[in-house]
Symmetry: C2
Subunit: 450 residues, 2 copies
């Protein structure tokens, strides 16, 4: 079969890096196998909207194979990569039923991304979920809307205030966006829903260890963002280190050395990432090094040293101190794919050059900050750019249309379409037995369900 | 406070019975507490659309307190009822943090509905989930879309066919609708998505123990439904009893006594319901009897014998052999609420009279069967009535609009908006270790997630 003689490209990961690499190979004389442990491509920049009830799973996470359905030279495998054999040029993937498959490759692109990092405090994870997967976002959604429910039926004032206090750790775009959205939904989206508590009285505290939030955006936008959040009622604490996280709250240390305990039932971790464990696995297999964030150190053309046909792209790649953003993943994924095409055509590989297309973060409805090649926009102008870019980049006409519908509902009417709390979404919810002071990780509700 | 001297009504359950009772008390001189263990009102007639990727959670399960936000005499409690004390007139509810609250009442309406019944074979539940809660539907969604994924990466022919075989047990409206939708999505919605398997080759088998499907609709509509499903490729087996369900398939017995094993990875249980365990709890507390389906036997005005202020409505109520449908729940809920209003006004209670507004079931896009007061509609005319009624009854303008958008996508373009499979949704997925033949209930994917 002619198919089998084609150059075989295996791509690990269907995020921005892997998906854009696959797309670029659309007309190349190659056969592509894209392996992901999820069946969906996650549009990560909108994950905070899933966590706050604006968009649904389908809108931020369309199936990878549906996106690539018209690209006939791509096979999509729903499996978890568990091994690399660079000598024999195979990738091992384990399917959901534990059966293993070996996928031979001529070129390999590894784009497995990054997960949340708790910088040595993995025990924080159960109390302060991160924002990396659809399950993370659905758990946060259950925790956030559940907190208002718990407050409503709480008789004790202090306990009620703890349910109405939300601490977001990390002042990058994700932290800023989720803090802004929690504040907005408490001020608008839950109007008239409660009888005993005023959801608008919720405290949202955004902690960041640095001198300012959105540090990468420059002083002016950082200040604009701070002002915008302050208008929404978000308390911003810069120079603030989180020293402990538990079921009932967090301990923080200010830069002057003073410490404080904040009683807060809902904590969200948006500080720091570390590369997928596949980075370590690949580095070990290929004799490469990893950096402090666990990313694989690559040559200027994104290839693994000594393995010119193996590429690492996106959040897993350590190169030129590039930031862990979607744009870097897309561009490096496309660069790797292009290099494969060039090699097949007998051309040399060239160094990857990142074209910085700027960054943006929404603050509230009608307000965003945008930084693009020295141009800094904020307020409504920034929001229009945010809206335009996100509609343009959302995958598929149908998702664009559905997202616009939900945005109309949210931005104009403060509505939140997705507020269902389910047992499984709330798995991992940490509750405390108030009588005994004993912590327990609750998996099922008090009573067995029929 | 004047509030506290008002007649206190406690409603247990925010389904059709409880919600319509609460709404009817809008202008009555009462204070209502509605307690539900979920934060959402489930629009059960569309649950099959959640399970097959057409609608999202938010569209079929809006928050109860949001629906009732403008009704100031209602408090919504998110808690699980764990006890009734009819002497002291209190209901005990346990919140998610295990703390208990006692809610005093002057009148009580219990409308906790019904769960799936496996008629003495609870061990079938793990292999053949039912269709009662949002979690059920999300698990089914993960299993259905996951089955096509597994088939795609399966090399063995027989194993692949088992992944592409779906058995639906129960030929009532729910069974008919889910069977039709699985057939439709396999024939249309997954087009071009797969490389190795043809999703359209999926077998959908609908088993029913009776002589015909949709027995309550009459012979003509039953025949129309059978023909419609057959056109979609659904295999209908009537007079067919399921004698065993396990990870790899089901054993069935035909009415002639012959037996067969059907290799099928995905099984859906839509046969039989039993009343919520709260029915037993209430009957014990009030000295009442329950029937074979666990429902509480009530007087003609829906009240508990000897307790004129305690009402049981909907699927939990045993009265006049009324069917377990949404209409009965709504009307009996409203009847109970009306009786409370009449009593406060010094009037006598009257017997509940069910006005049969007919029944309907969708077969495929553009086809439904409708039975209404002797008028029988099928095909496109039936579907138009189905569409009209469902748009009219969906709660909230926004949900109507969103549902119409998704229906346009599905009915005109065969699209499925919601196809994300997440680990937690698939919790409970039963897989089999093919090497060892050992069954295991998988909770996490093979590799720990970062």
């Amino acid at each position: 079969m002619a198919e089998q003689q084609r150059h075989r490209v295996v791509i690990v990961g269907g995020g921005f890096g892997g998906l854009f690499a696959a797309r670029l190979l659309r007309r190349a004389p190659v056969q592509v196998t894209l392996i992901d442990r999820e069946n969906y491509h996650l549009f990560q920049p909108l994950l905070y909207q899933l966590a706050t009830g604006i968009l649904s799973e389908g809108e931020v996470a369309p199936p990878i194979r549906h996106i690539l359905r018209r690209q006939h030279n791509v096979d999509v495998e729903f499996a978890t990569v568990t091994g690399f054999d660079l000598q024999n040029r195979t990738v091992t993937a384990t399917r959901l039923d534990d059966s293993e498959r070996r996928h031979p490759f001529d070129s390999l692109i590894v784009a497995a991304g990054a997960g949340q990092s708790y910088v040595g405090h993995d025990e924080f994870a159960r109390y302060a979920p991160g924002m990396k997967t659809v399950d993370d976002a659905l758990e946060l959604r259950a925790r956030i809307f559940g907190a208002f429910e718990m407050a409503e039926s709480e008789y004790d004032d202090a306990a009620r205030r703890a349910w109405l206090t939300f601490v977001v750790v990390g002042g990058g775009p994700t932290g800023v966006e989720i803090a802004g959205q929690i504040a907005e939904l408490s001020r608008g989206g839950l109007k008239r829903n409660f009888r005993k508590v005023d959801p608008g009285a919720a405290r949202v505290i955004l902690c960041d260890g640095g001198k300012e939030i959105l540090a990468g955006f420059g002083d002016r936008l950082s200040q604009k963002a701070s002002n915008g959040l302050a208008k929404l009622g978000v308390e911003i604490r810069t120079g603030c280190t989180v020293t402990d996280v538990h079921a009932l709250g967090v301990a923080v240390k200010a830069h002057d050395g003073s410490t404080e305990h904040i009683a807060a039932r809902t904590k969200i971790w948006a500080a720091g990432v570390e590369a997928s464990p596949l980075a370590r696995l690949l580095a070990d297999a290929g004799g490469a090094s990893t950096d402090r964030a666990g990313r694989v150190e690559v040559l200027p053309d994104c290839s693994l040293p000594g393995h010119p046909d193996v590429f690492v792209v996106g959040d897993m790649m350590s190169l030129d101190r590039l930031p862990g953003v979607a744009e870097v993943a897309m561009q490096s994924g496309m660069h790797a794919a292009n290099t494969i095409k060039r090699r097949i055509a007998g051309k040399q590989s060239v160094a990857f050059k990142y074209r910085d297309l700027g960054s943006m973060a929404t603050i509230s409805r009608f307000r965003a900050v945008v930084s693009f090649k020295g141009v800094k926009l904020s307020g409504f102008a920034g929001w229009l750019v945010w809206l335009f870019v996100h509609i343009a980049f959302l995958t598929g006409f149908k998702n664009r249309f559905a997202a616009m519908l939900h945005w109309t509902n949210t931005f104009l009417f403060s509505g939140r379409a997705e507020r269902a709390i389910t047992v499984r979404q709330a798995v991992g919810r940490v509750v405390i037995d108030e009588a005994g002071g004993q912590e327990s990780l609750r998996i099922a509700p008090p009573q067995a369900r029929p």
